[in-house]
């Protein structure tokens, strides 16, 4: 009898969890896969790219992707849409007017989404880097920025540079979804170098720039 009661109880709890999970997921989770891509500067004119490998995560000392159990524990926190206005599965920035959440409402767009945006950006950010530099780009969340009633498709990414000497640096960026150009950056790394090295810019010994002031 005890076993039967225990079994019924377990079934009830399990059913409850199943329905709850299903409902919560449909409410909060919009499918966003953290997609990583690595760009490698081979020489002055060649930049290769491929899906980031585990070895590269290790080399770049990026503590991701987390173990499966961590994903379970922090599942609510990884929903990048939580707390934001959303249109077409994209976070709305800029003019945060509720009307824009209605996907049937008109919104003129200044650009379109080019599926190659990440490659264009990766190549552009690597053009001036020395050979053997690696660039890892994590696609975080798509965005629509609305200014003066006109929307612009953007992509929020995390960029990590891994230099040949092992130095690494990261920042977040908004990237134009059509042109791949970087629109804004933030969350840069803060260092505590003691007496940090300066740029060492040397002024020309004689100034014959021809610049005059008015």
């Amino acid at each position: 009898m005890k076993k039967t009661i225990l079994f019924i109880l377990s079934i009830t709890v399990a059913l409850g969890i199943t329905f709850y999970t299903k409902n919560e997921r449909s409410k909060n989770m919009v499918q966003v896969k953290a997609q990583w891509k690595t760009f490698v500067k081979k020489n002055n004119s060649v930049v290769d790219s491929h899906k980031t490998t585990q070895d590269e995560f290790l080399a770049a000392k990026i503590p991701t992707p987390p173990p499966a159990e961590k994903v379970q524990r922090t599942i609510a926190s990884v929903n990048p849409y939580q707390g934001f206005m959303v249109r077409n599965n994209r976070i709305i920035m800029g003019d945060l007017n509720k009307k824009y959440e209605d996907e049937n409402s008109d919104l003129q767009m200044a650009n379109s989404v080019n599926p190659e945006w990440k490659d264009i950006m990766g190549n552009d950010l690597m053009r001036f880097q020395p050979a053997d530099t690696k660039l890892m780009v994590k696609e975080e969340v798509p965005v629509i920025k609305i200014v003066n009633g006109i929307g612009r498709y953007l992509e929020q990414v995390t960029v990590t540079y891994l230099q040949k000497d092992g130095n690494r640096s990261s920042f977040k960026a908004l990237v134009d979804s059509e042109t791949g150009s970087v629109v804004e950056t933030w969350d840069r790394t803060i260092h505590e170098h003691i007496r940090p090295k300066r740029g060492g810019l040397i002024l020309p010994s004689t100034n014959d720039s021809g610049i005059i002031t008015k």
Partner: protein, 792 residues
């Protein structure tokens, strides 16, 4: 029907699976020592029999303090300095308690960036030899946890003291009541903070905001000195994380976050470093930072003028304080050599905050810990307001457009980062306002039966040279407007002029180009190697983004002739001169787009400083009269400039058959019949031929001495050796290869400095601060016109 059946089967399958998994989990209670992630080994443990479960031993302060030996040898056995047992955590892993910001865990500590998990205990104890990697993690965890507990208790306290029992603000607080959820957690962050106690970085620690992680490095060839052995370093780095939370207390629904600091010199960064030093004092009450880790590199820092490390003449007397801007370039470890470094400049703020703490102890009968908590509360209030991207600023009188422009035009981040960034002036003004609103308000009784007077607030700020403002600016952009509820005019509280004794305000007219005979107004650096190095550094740091596709990756057009040529990327350094008798601090040069063109008339240059004359293409049309100003009705107060009101800094000279005129780049493009594909950006012809590179379109000089240039200010006084320019001292421009040689461009830069008499408040309008929108125009700035010939 079929679908329903399949759905039912799926649910039953899921349920059965859950039952099975539940059973497995029930028998899977973690057993110490069985996990594959267990990292404890016999060699690492130390005295585990003498500590209880959940306990460990740590270095309660840094080794210099614990040993009381300033010259403690790097090989000293740190085990001898371990204190009595302390509680570490009852968790199986080094993961902090929940509820800091609603995540399962606030933070966790790992060994290195390669580590896949936090340290796990095998027996519930956390005692390790001081030389072990495990100890580093436990030590880091203990001090971070201590700081987090204190900090989040402070946020709780801030909310409790800002609102009454009905959640109504008691004063114009910037901390939203909704920050704290009913379950006691905070709506603050979406990502767990990771701390790596054993990072493979030499002479450094860092806070990586993009991946939300802290790294603590080492010093010495054999890594004998680990930075995580120094608790003050841990507090300082975690302090950067706290600052980011404080600045974004009102930005929980903003995808972008604001920050104090970046890699190059600016005042926000300097204030951020000073704050982080203060946060060490906030936790441990000691007025020196980094004796062990930084001290071995001659880089430890004092937080009080009473510290013996200071140069002669510095004292806690009003006349001896570390005042702005005199001590901006002061390094107590190398007191005779000027240095431009945010960590050193930040000492003015750390010293002021410690002095404020002590003044509150004295005048409000607070204990030192109470005063430290109160100052932290004031910092949270001030940073929440200054960092607000939603632009409302505060809870009681806040409304859209009060701070950082207006969110509906998406310029708030631009205003925060470039156009009206945090400076020593705005920071001290906001601190003063929040002191006045709280401990300065007798009705709130926050000063134990007394109150902290305006004279108290102003005198202490003035002793640090920080009384740089004329009003407390309580109403910011809404200043001087009719309050529709009370039908009274919102007036800002004025500063008492007599209290400004050390703080010197200088007219912007005194910031000029070097007047010496034969001196250069500006230098051009177009050396290929140097420019390539700069682009690499600025791009990897995230300061600049992508460049024009037209600019070749080998910078092949850069010809090192120190002139501006087609196709080049060039650095331009202005040779500015302080023509006053007092030092200038926080000099900013802006080359970003601004409102100085007549949109209704082909974006022709509006006339400023009599340039250009209308016969030379200048416009005096009504459209130009409205630049950066929104006079009129209250409803217009926060109205931002529209996107179209931004014009690039550079115009181009064009000779036609009848006259020579200055015209916009887009008009010039039409005149010379160049295709859009030949522009720097083929989708935007506004800066088709020359443009300041976004992110490198602003330059800073920390200080310029009286009757000097920056170069003269920074030269070594003993050797006369010049101080090299950094990338933050110059502007970067991209030049199209399509611009015809012989063309002349005029770039209209705007400059200002922090202790400026007429750059931030308007003497013609009750000394109220300029409205944010006005910073998009000419009024708060000195304009520098550079006429640049394009030379092949």
């Amino acid at each position: 029907m079929g679908n329903s059946k399949r759905g039912l089967h799926l649910i039953i399958q899921k349920t059965l699976a859950l039952v099975v998994v539940s059973g497995m989990l029930a028998s899977c209670v973690p057993t110490a020592g069985t996990s594959v992630r267990s990292r404890v080994n016999a060699n690492a443990t130390s005295g585990s029999t003498t500590v209880g479960v959940t306990q460990g031993r740590v270095l309660k302060d840094n080794p210099i303090i614990l040993s009381n030996k300033a010259d403690l040898d790097l090989n000293y056995d740190l085990n001898r300095l371990l204190g009595s047992a302390v509680t570490i955590t009852s968790n199986s892993f080094l993961q902090a308690n929940p509820n800091c910001f609603g995540l399962t865990y606030c933070f966790e500590v790992r060994d290195t960036r390669e580590s896949v998990s936090a340290l796990q205990t095998t027996d519930g104890k956390w005692s390790f030899r001081a030389s072990s990697d495990e100890f580093l993690q436990v030590n880091t965890f203990y001090h971070m946890n201590k700081m987090f507990d204190q900090f989040f208790a402070n946020i709780n306290l801030s909310i409790a003291s800002a609102y009454d029992a009905f959640s109504i603000p008691l004063y114009d607080t910037a901390i939203p009541f909704s920050l704290r959820k009913p379950d006691g957690s905070f709506t603050l962050n979406s990502q767990m903070l990771l701390a790596f106690s054993n990072c493979d970085v030499a002479n450094n620690a860092y806070y990586d905001q993009a991946t939300e992680s802290l790294c603590f490095g080492y010093t010495g060839a054999n890594k004998a000195l680990r930075w995580a052995h120094d608790s003050t370093i841990i507090y300082h780095e975690a302090g950067h994380f706290m600052q980011r939370l404080q600045l974004n207390l009102r930005n929980t629904n903003q995808p972008m976050k604001v920050q104090m600091s970046n890699n190059l010199y600016n005042e926000a960064g300097a204030i951020g470093e000073g704050l982080s030093d203060f946060y060490s004092y906030y936790v441990n009450g000691r007025t020196h930072w980094g004796e062990w880790a930084a001290g071995h590199l001659n880089g430890s820092r004092p937080l009080s003028e009473s510290d013996t490390i200071h140069a002669p003449g510095i004292s806690a007397d009003d006349d001896g304080r570390l005042s702005y801007p005199q001590y901006i370039n002061y390094d107590p470890n190398y007191a005779t050599e000027p240095v431009e470094d945010i960590h050193m400049s930040g000492m003015i703020i750390s010293h002021y905050l410690v002095a404020l703490t002590q003044d509150l102890e004295s005048k409000c009968s607070m204990t030192n810990p109470e005063a430290r908590e109160f100052v932290m509360n004031i910092l949270s209030e001030s940073m929440a307001e200054l960092g607000d991207l939603s632009t409302t600023g505060t809870q009681k009188y806040g409304q859209a457009g009060k701070v950082n422009m207006n969110t509906t035009n998406s310029n708030s981040y631009l205003w925060f980062s470039t156009i009206n960034p945090i400076t020593y002036r705005s920071f001290s003004q906001t601190i003063a306002k929040n002191l006045l609103n709280t401990v300065g308000n007798p009705a709130l009784n926050r000063c134990n039966g007394s109150f902290y007077t305006r004279d108290n607030i102003e005198s202490l700020l003035d002793s640090y040279g920080l009384l740089l403002f004329k009003t407390y600016n309580q109403h910011r952009n809404l200043t001087g407007l009719l309050n529709p509820v009370t039908l009274t005019i919102n007036a800002n509280t004025p500063v008492t002029t007599a209290n400004r004794k050390k703080s010197v305000l200088i007219s912007k007219s005194n910031l000029i180009l070097d007047p010496a005979t034969g001196a250069s107004s500006a230098y051009v650096i177009d050396n290929r190697v140097q420019i390539a190095a700069g682009i690499t550094q600025l791009q990897t740091a995230g300061i600049i983004g992508t460049l024009s596709a037209q600019t070749p990756s080998d910078l092949g057009f850069n010809n090192n002739n120190s002139k501006v040529s087609p196709g080049e990327v060039v650095a331009i350094a202005l040779n500015l001169y302080n023509n006053s008798n007092s030092p200038m601090g926080g000099i900013e040069i802006l080359a970003n787009d601004w409102d100085h063109a007549d949109q209704a008339n082909l974006n022709r240059p509006c006339v400023f400083d009599s340039w250009p004359l209308d016969t030379e293409g200048g416009s005096n049309a009504a459209n130009c009269a409205l630049i950066g100003a929104t006079p009129g009705t209250p409803s217009l107060a926060g109205v931002p400039a529209t996107t179209g009101d931004f014009a690039p800094v550079c115009f181009i000279q064009h000779n036609d058959s009848t006259a020579t005129r200055w015209i916009s780049q887009s008009e010039f493009k039409t005149k010379v019949a160049i295709d859009s594909n030949s522009c720097l950006d083929k989708t935007n012809d506004k800066d088709c031929f020359i443009r300041a590179i976004r992110g490198a379109d602003k330059a800073h000089y920390s200080k310029i001495n009286p009757k000097s240039t920056w170069g003269q200010t920074m030269a070594n006084p003993t050797t006369g050796k010049a101080y090299s320019l950094d990338w933050g001292n110059v502007l970067l421009f991209e030049v199209s290869k399509s611009i015809p040689p012989g063309t002349v461009v005029n770039c209209r830069m705007r400059v200002r400095f922090t202790n400026c008499e007429d750059c931030f408040h308007d003497g013609t309008a009750a000394n109220n601060d300029f409205k944010d929108v006005e910073y998009n125009g000419a009024k708060p700035y000195k304009i520098i016109h550079l006429q640049i010939p394009i030379t092949d």
